[in-house]
Symmetry: C2
Subunit: 326 residues, 2 copies
């Protein structure tokens, strides 16, 4: 068009206050500029940070983010995904990290595009064509544990929630890798997860860590250090230590994984393994966008590197001077 014509049109748009109806546009084109985001619970700070990262990346691409709290319940997850699909939302990011993505199978067949957040490469075997984005969870678990070993710890506990997630398994494997490498025998009594009765709602992840850590710290030969499945669990472990009159890191060293903002605020500041959340969020949205542009292609898995962030919750083990009461 001639520049002059463009100007005239824009003038008319301005005068009439015309705004195109996206709804009508969607009906015609089939494309909706929204993506779904399924997290266990945004009330959990680490998922909040994740939601924020995804939103930043989505905004850059002109996509709105529709939020769903799955509470790690496959039924809820499926229902949300189905509703998203009904709304015309074709791409969703799922961060609940379950082993089995089967509950999405028929939706994927109906055109749903899935990007798993935090699922790692372990999806390879599954026959669902699902892209994924993740930090190298095994390495994260390894780095956390290795740090404790390097500080001189030998009895190192591991706390997590109950939920059977890929990331949990991978991080735990990293923990075992590090112990094996240092030729420290694996001791099942040092690995504790919160009781199943606790439920799977991630809103209370820290409470899970607290309960699990308490169990570890009250046994006879208690560990001198604890690696947490994530920062919330580690923070819970710190709370458990306090509950028992133990001082961190003097009596117990604790490391987390994720590097949430909170870790810098608590006392002592939490030593942790950094997860590049912004980059992960961006990668997830990028994968989705790529699928919007062209459907086909083998599943892609983006795995980013974690790195250790040393703060003050872990130090060399002190001499055992007394045993925690209760």
């Amino acid at each position: 068009m001639r520049p002059e014509t463009v100007r005239r049109i824009e003038e008319a748009i301005g005068q009439l206050g015309y705004r195109p109806s996206l709804t009508a546009r969607h009906l015609k084109t089939g494309f909706v500029p929204m993506i779904g985001l399924l997290v266990p619970s945004v009330a959990n700070p680490s998922h909040g940070a994740m939601a924020r990262a995804v939103e930043v990346a989505a905004e850059e691409r002109g996509l709105q983010v529709v939020l769903g709290n799955s509470l790690r319940d496959p039924q809820r997850e499926r229902r949300y995904a189905a509703e998203f699909l009904d709304l015309g939302i074709r791409g969703i990011i799922v961060s609940s990290s379950p082993f089995d993505l089967g509950h999405f199978a028929d939706l994927v067949r109906r055109g749903l595009i899935l990007v798993a957040f935090d699922l790692g490469a372990t999806l390879e075997g599954v026959d669902l064509p699902v892209d994924s984005v993740s930090v190298d969870n095994r390495k994260a678990g390894y780095l956390a544990t290795k740090h404790l070993i390097d500080l001189g710890h030998r009895r190192i506990g591991y706390v997590s929630g109950v939920t059977a997630t890929v990331s949990r398994r991978e991080r735990h494997r990293g923990y075992e890798d590090a112990l094996r490498e240092a030729q420290i025998p694996l001791d099942p009594s040092l690995v504790s997860s919160s009781p199943a009765a606790f439920g799977f709602d991630d809103t209370n992840a820290a409470e899970h860590g607290r309960v699990a850590a308490k169990q570890l710290l009250t046994q006879d030969d208690r560990p001198s250090a604890i690696a947490g499945f994530n920062d919330m669990h580690a923070l819970g472990a710190c709370a458990a230590a306090r509950d028992l009159g133990l001082v961190v890191p003097r009596d117990v060293s604790i490391v987390g994984i994720d590097d949430i903002i909170l870790g810098t605020l608590v006392d002592p500041p939490l030593t942790t393994v950094h997860q590049p959340m912004d980059a992960l969020g961006k990668a997830a949205v990028d994968l989705l966008s790529a699928r919007f542009a062209e459907e086909s292609g083998a599943p892609r898995h983006i795995i980013l590197d974690p790195h250790l962030v040393v703060r003050a919750s872990a130090s060399a083990p002190g001499r055992r001077t007394w045993v925690a009461s209760s």
Copy 2:
């Protein structure tokens, strides 16, 4: 219809895998089962909790929640609201609590329904027809401060961020009310907010509190207690105390407002004023739904009561034994 016919129809639905296109439905009916949620940043745990509460309430009503992080920037806020409106989303919940809602004016005229979260009754004067939901912020500030006074404190500081929000003003007024009631003179040097250069991104609220509290705690006649604008600020204040070698609550008592989960995890557990977040979220969604049903009616303002939650971050003032270094 006859039951038999219903069955036949449902069978056909099942066989064909028919799902009604909500997009098409919207085009015809004009109604979209989604609401917008604008928070400063979900990465901030208190907004995360709020988003979760809203989502729970929305889910009950079959509404999806579309998320926007405003970063307290009116421009961003407006842009999000406009985009929501283009998507057909008519109702949004805004929780940035600015004094001036003017940037939404034309959108409201175009049909946008606004519910202000955390704005209190102070909206009454404004000519925008906006419902609101809020805890009684003045009372919250009062309760926090009153608790410190009851414990015996006389020099009580107040820390907050820079942003000029209604809730900030109200809580600060509550702080002043309590002091006046106890006939303690107001001392401006005891009120500190983070420097404006810090930006308004609530993601770092705790850091704001830390900076502001540090300023308070390093002055000559430092306060024996600090009330935080919210829990994140209070947590930041705790961190500042630690930075200076002060022990909470022995050397400084600290109370927050909000009652976020985190408050129970830190050491010492945070004494705070509870904000009934679930009820607030539900009230906000209820107001929106009511407007969907019938447009008209004077603005309604729902104000819920806060209450004190005593934990361990505040105690009677000890004797001043030493002065913080640096």
